[in-house]
Amino acid sequence: MFRNQYDNDVTVWSPQGRLHQVEYAMEAVKQGSATVGVKSSSHAVLVALKRASSELAAHQKKIMPIDKHIAVSISGLTADARVLSRFMRTECLNEHFAHNQALSLNKLMERVGAKMQIATQRYDKRPYGVGLLLAGFDEDGPHIYQTCPSANYYDCQAMAIGARSQSARTYLERHLEEFGSSTREELIRHALRALRDTLPNDVELTNKNCSIAVVGKGEDLSIYDDDDVNPYLEGLDQEERRGGAGGSRDAQPPAAEDDATAGAAASADATAAAPPPPPAAEDQGDSMETD
């Protein structure tokens, strides 16, 4: 994406009919670490790769509970994600208070979409620089929703967003037919395998960098971190890893993503990252505080 004279304000259209600021905001989502969501006919699962800004720091939380039946996993600006989470939580609480029932996901997404859209049409605001994956269970069954800084939201069977998530999406597309009838454990394993495909070869999923959230029929939301993740990772280690994006370090995120106009941006990243090992990809996130 090249700089041009139409990309300074979100209220300025380009002659091609694009809002460049919104598209730049979507780049922020691609900087965040990967997260995957899948649903079966009875459960919805989120898994997320947590990033630590340095060896001294704890890994940044990626999955936030919203209500007993909804969880959200973030990719992008964490601070923006917190604002949206707080909004979602108050909407859910309000539904319990005023209507004595759980908020259904489609209603929640309408409200989140409306809120995010405001930021794309005002001169004194900027788009939310975070992509969300929502997993929830309501009277219509399990749901996975994806949101973008463009304020679009998508109802998905399975989805992955964040850095190197294309490999995860490829895995998900390959196994799409299996998800509907998967059991809870199988579903989590699918999600973890998809997530693992986003990792470079020499990085493994550990209980430190992995988070799991599950919600389903007759089951309130559970979020697993640290040691609670162990039982789900166990079965995974023995399995062979498929080729992920890990193969070549040179296949940096911009090239691996759909962004065809990476051009100058990609080569700049490659030269910066070529010498150091994988943590370089994570360093890209530091300056923006994206996780």
């Binding site: 005023a98 209507h99 004595n100 029932q101």
Partner: protein, 232 residues
């Protein structure tokens, strides 16, 4: 705030009738448990007469106060006509609102208003389905709210509810026909005994399939006023 006050005075000066039309309505409802007859799975029934009073004056005799809000919820109100007409507009916020959610929302609104010393002068009955179970609830102007198997407002509480409870004790699982007969009986008694009642009424029937409202049912012919001749 000021606008409302002004328009109120204006109307009062010009028309002199519509303002302050407090209506004492009688309203009885009946809830049936999932029933015995193979053709009918149970549901909820509501009845209310069609009178809008102005004090003792029987001013409007065809007031519709039973509303279908969604397929799963029906609302019936006693009290100030203006207040529940406004209420009707705000009640249905989506197509899928169920009776329990409507009841809760109404409770919150009415309680909030009373706490601000600006009440909606209503006694409401919410009937319908919540999570595939029949639901019947009551909310009033001060925010009192509860769910019960039989609910009424005004004179209905004194006259009709005992009748319904007695019938239910004799036969715990009322069928639809039983319920309809029972409601008709109750309405007749109310018409006899409450001088501010009327013989035209509405009947609402809520089943899992939806809400059916029968308007303009007239019970005058079924009433017997012969006894009036014996009174000097």
């Amino acid at each position: 705030m000021y606008e409302a006050l002004e328009s109120g005075i204006f109307l009062f000066g010009l028309v002199g009738l519509l303002q302050g039309n407090s209506t004492t309505f009688l309203d009885i409802v009946n809830k049936m448990r999932p029933g015995l007859t193979p053709l009918y799975n149970g549901g909820v029934m509501l009845a209310a007469d069609s009178l809008g009073s102005y004090g003792s004056l029987a001013r409007f005799r065809d007031v519709k106060r039973l509303f279908r809000v969604t397929d799963k919820a029906a609302l019936a109100c006693s009290g100030d006509i203006a207040d529940y007409q406004r209420d009707d507009e705000c009640g249905g916020y989506t197509r899928e609102l169920n009776a329990g959610a409507l009841h809760c929302w109404l409770t919150r609104v009415l309680y909030n208003r009373r706490s601000r010393f600006d009440p909606l002068w209503l006694e409401c009955v919410v009937a319908g389905y919540k999570d595939n179970e029949p639901f019947l609830g009551y909310v009033d102007k001060i925010g009192t709210a509860f769910e019960a198997k039989e609910v009424a407002t005004g004179f209905g509480l004194h006259l009709a509810v005992p009748m319904i409870r007695e019938a239910r004790e004799k036969k715990p699982n009322l069928t639809r026909d039983d319920a309809q007969k029972l409601l008709k009986e109750c309405l007749k008694v109310l018409y006899y005994r409450d001088c501010r009642a009327h013989f035209k009424y509405q009947l609402a029937d809520i089943t899992p399939e939806g809400v059916t409202i029968h308007d303009d049912i007239n019970m005058k012919k079924e009433t017997n006023w012969e006894v009036a001749n014996y009174i000097k």
